[in-house]
Structures are given as C-alpha cells and as structure tokens.
C-alpha cells in the first residue's frame, strides 16, 4: 500500500517540557480512511495540527518526520509548507462554530480558498462553490452563500466546512471529530456525507474520533492513541477481531454493540490503564500493520 501520509516518531513538547505526543507513528494510505481513536486529551487534534503546521504557539515539534507522499514536510520552509499543505490537505474541524470567520459571508470563505490555492478567477470559484454546496445537500446554495455563519445551524455549518474541505480537491483530509458538536440524527447524516464524499473524490482521510462504532463503519486502518502515544496500529477488521494491546481489548469491551448492549456500562479497568502508563514509561512500541 502506498502511503499518502506517513508520520514517523513524531514528538511534540510544550515549552514547559510537558510531552504532548511521544514518538507517534501512523500511515494513511492513498484514497484510504485511517481512524485515529483515543480519549479526550490524548493528543488526537495535535497530530492533525502538526500535519497541517498549525500547532499552538506554546508547542514545538521536537522530533520525527511527517512525509506527504514523497515530500518531507519537516524539511520545508514554513511559508512554502503552508502553501503546499493548503493545496494538498484540508481540515474538517471539531467545532463548526469557530471554523468559519464570523464576520464574513459563507460565499467568500469558500471561494477565497479556491482563489488562494488554485489561483482561480472569482466567477469560476463562485460557480464551483455553488456546485459543492449542492453536493453536500444544501438546498438553497445561493442563499447560504450570502449568509453569515451565525445565521446557520451547526449541521449546515458542518456541511459547508465539508464542502470547503473538498473544494480544492486535496489528496488528504483530516476530519477532527467532525460530528462531536452535533446532535445524534445530524451526526449520522454528516458521517454518511463524509464517507460518500471521500469515496467519490478518492481522498485519503484521517478520521479522528472517540467512537469505535464509527471507526468500524468507515475506516480501513486505525491507530489507538493514549496519552500522546500510539498503542496499536492495525487493519480495521483485524483490530476488531484480534486486538493486540490490552488497552485496545478493554476499549472494545467497553464499546456497546447490539449483541451486547450492556457493554456501555463496562469501563477500561484500572489495571489496564496502569499497564499502559508503565508501557509508556518504557517506550514500548507495538506496530502491527
């Protein structure tokens, strides 16, 4: 499998020395969907930000490699890297509220990307934006183009962000818990939409979530992240039948399924957590792709 994105031994450290990511390695195959699961605070979003080069000011990459196809992103100058990433990757963010500029209408926010990245003329960009909005099943694209973000519902905003992520036909999209801020029925629609768009456009997708149920539906491969460390990289089917790491097994046991609805009451046992913490201290890496 040729990798669209490969992250090797990526470490991120806060300025005060706290380690946010420890030697993280993962791969996203071209046109494939890679799930990244982990509990809140594990560092999932920071992996995405490190790839896009938009880490918070207080964080620094202290080691590792991020390769995009054959291109080594770490070797690029910041400005060149931003341009390059803009043309090749996009983000569907966790919070659709803060991902659109509140003082600008929707239209320019989508077309601006096409103008900036692809150098399109405004009129072409506008026509493309209308098509994209229709593609994400927005019924009145022309009206939505004229709206401000606060005039639209969360689901609408997320649809717009999906449209805008696919706008410049990037090779990789990072979807950072794209449904967390939405209610359950809208979550389903948005998930379906992302899966559908991904399949149609053949984009590689790094899908961040803490919902194993979702992973099982949309992903080809996946990683389990705990406290900034990848515990297991696995093929999706293999993960669900033969999880290797004790934490993965505990995680699966704690996931409710139709056959075992009471699973929702199970917790990851403290013993497993302690084991993981110990492992992390011993820099244990398990890679199973």
């Amino acid at each position: 499998m040729s990798a669209q994105l490969s992250v090797r031994d990526l470490s991120i450290t806060l300025q005060n020395g706290v380690r946010i990511l420890r030697n993280v390695s993962l791969e996203v195959g071209a046109g494939r969907v890679h799930g990244l699961v982990g509990e809140s605070g594990a560092g999932k979003s920071m992996i995405g930000k490190a790839i896009l080069g938009t880490l918070p000011h207080a964080m620094n990459v202290t080691g590792g490699q991020i390769c995009f196809g054959d291109v080594d992103l770490m070797a690029m100058a910041p400005k060149a890297r931003r341009t390059w990433i803009g043309a090749n990757a996009a983000l569907i963010p966790q919070d659709p509220l803060t991902a659109l500029n509140p003082s600008k209408r929707i239209g320019p926010q989508i077309t601006r990307r096409l103008v900036d990245i692809l150098g399109w003329a405004k009129t072409n960009a506008k026509a493309r934006a209308l098509d994209l909005l229709a593609e994400v099943q927005i019924t009145d694209p022309a009206r939505v183009m004229r709206s401000y973000p606060h005039e639209l519902s969360g689901g609408m905003r997320q649809r717009i962000l999906i449209a805008s992520a696919f706008a410049a036909e990037p090779k990789l999209i990072i979807a950072d818990e794209p449904t967390t801020a939405l209610d359950v029925t809208v979550q389903k629609q948005i998930l379906k939409l992302i899966a559908q768009m991904q399949a149609e456009h053949g984009t590689a997708l790094l899908f961040v979530t803490h919902d194993l149920g979702v992973v099982s539906k949309v992903c080809d491969t996946m990683s389990v992240l705990y406290a900034g460390k990848v515990l297991e990289n696995a093929q999706m089917r293999r993960f669900f039948t033969h999880p290797i790491h004790p934490y993965s097994r505990a995680l699966l046991a704690a996931t409710p399924t139709y056959s075992n609805p009471t699973g929702s009451l199970a917790q990851v046992p403290q013993k497993v957590i302690d084991g993981v913490e110990q492992d992390i201290r011993h820099h244990d890496i398990r890679n199973h792709i």
């Binding site: 931003r82 900036d116 009145d140 009206r143 709206s147």
Partner: protein
C-alpha cells in the same frame, strides 16, 4: 435545510439614537459656533456680569444661559468650548486608537518576541499614575492643544494595546484562522483580513470610549490650568471659574458640567451601541 435566523433584524436602539443625537447636536454646534453664538466668547461686559439664565428673574435677552462674573456669555463660550473638546476627542482618540490597536494586534497575532516586548512596555507604562503622568508631560511639553493631544496618546495607548491583544489572541486560536493560514495566505494578510474584522467592534467601542476620556482629560487639565491658553474658552476652564462663584452664579458651573457629562456618556453609549450592532454574532 432552511434556517430562520437570517431573517432577524434589530432596530437601532434608543441608546444609539440618544447618544448619536446629542453628539450630532454637539458637532453642529461646534461647526456653526460663529453663526450660532450670540456673542463673542471672549468679550467681557462688566455691566452684564452674572446674569442668570433665561427663565430666572433678572435675565437679559441675548444671554440665554446667563453670563459669568466677567460678563461673558455662557452659551457662546460653551459652543466654542465644544470645538476644542471635539478636536481633542477626535484627534487624540484616533491617534491613541491607531497606535494602541496596531501594537495590540501585532502582539496578539504574532506572539513570540513582538508580544514579549510590547507586553512588557505596556506593563511598565501602566505602573505610572496617569494623571500625574499627564501633568508631568504637559509641564515638559508646555501647554497648548498639541501637548494635550500628545499627552493623551502617550498615556492611553496601553488601554487599546491590552484589550486588542487579548481579543486578537482569542481569535487567533480559532480554527478559521488556521484554515486561512493553510490556504497559503501570509501572516500579515491573515491578520488584516481574518483577525482585524472580528476585533473591529471592540476597537470601535474602545475608540468612542477613548474620545469620552479625552474630553475628560482635557477638562481636567483645563481645570488645573494646564490646558490651552486661559483665553480660549474650554469646558474645563469654565468649570474651574464657575466653581469659585457657585453660590452667586451656579449656571457658570452647571451648564458646562452638564455638557461634559452628556458628551462623555454619549461617547461611551455610542460605543456600546455600535459594538452590539456591528458584532456579527450579536447582530
């Protein structure tokens, strides 16, 4: 998928109408002072000293708001005083805003060294007691309109720098800024096109507030006789003179005081009203 939120439109509030109304009146009065003023603001008439306002016994036609102890017309002096107050408000307010907001925006967006340097300077600056600082500055620069404006700018730019920096930092952390940055846009362009429009409502509110403060500072400096020359009428100067004869002629003190109060209040209310109106999320 439709959404009714787009259809909400709010009317101009009473707050905007009242404050805007008073300020418009003031600007007109200041601009048309030579036409409106019944008398030369500096002309003394010792036979017409301490005339009361028009509704009281002993008032004279042509002196609607009375005269001071030297027989100068209070209304005329207030109209000419408004000119000075507004010039100080506009020029000092705008300059303060430009300098403070620019530094705040740079510190809040770029962070790093720029932020460290600007924030340290702001901290040190704010340790000086402002009124003392102003009096000291005027003492060094000499009295006059320019000195007052310089003093206000030098003292108050930190107010803008602090608030705008905090706001720019909050905005910079949002995902829309990141997505503009990864579109290959430069930092300077991102700062101007993404951050600035969202900080603008706050800047606007601060600007009008600053204009009110400038009017007060000018009045305080006139009050302690450090403003423009004692000849040209200022509200602060009138209040200072009125104070000495408040028992015999309260109107010399009270009318400029009311004008000052209304003007400062209007500036701050205008700011709040405009902020509500232009804030895309509250709108």
């Amino acid at each position: 998928m439709r959404d009714a939120r787009a259809d909400i439109r709010r009317p101009l509030g009473a707050r905007l109408w009242l404050s805007g109304g008073w300020l418009t009146l003031l600007v007109l009065g200041a601009l048309l002072a030579p036409l409106l003023a019944p008398h030369d603001p500096l002309a003394q008439d010792l036979f017409a000293g301490r005339l009361p306002p028009f509704w009281q016994d002993g008032a004279q036609r042509g002196y609607p708001l009375g005269t001071d102890s030297l027989g100068r017309d209070v209304l005329s002096r207030m109209l000419y005083g408004a000119r000075l107050a507004l010039v100080v408000a506009l020029v000092a307010g705008t300059l303060t805003c430009l300098i403070g907001a620019t530094l705040g925006l740079i510190a809040g967006y770029y962070r790093g060294w720029a932020d460290i340097i600007i924030s340290r300077i702001v901290d040190i600056w704010m340790a000086f007691p402002p009124v003392l600082f102003a009096i000291l500055l005027i003492a060094v620069l000499g009295t006059g309109l320019t000195s007052i404006i310089i003093a206000i700018v030098v003292i108050d730019w930190t107010r803008f720098a602090r608030v705008v920096r905090a706001e720019a930092m909050t905005q910079s952390a949002m995902d829309y800024v990141a997505s503009a940055q990864v579109s290959g846009r430069g930092h300077f362009s991102t700062m101007l096109t993404e951050i600035l429009p969202n900080v603008l409502p706050t800047i606007l509110a601060l600007l009008t507030l600053e204009m009110g403060i400038a009017v007060i500072v000018e009045a305080i400096l006139s009050f302690v006789n450090l403003s423009i020359s004692t000849d040209s009428p200022t509200w602060g100067g009138m209040i200072a003179e009125g104070r000495t004869s408040v028992h015999q002629a309260w109107w010399v003190l009270v009318f400029p005081l009311i004008a000052l109060f209304l003007t400062v209040l209007s500036f701050s209310q205008l700011g709040e009203g405009l902020k509500d109106r232009f804030d895309p999320v509250l709108r």
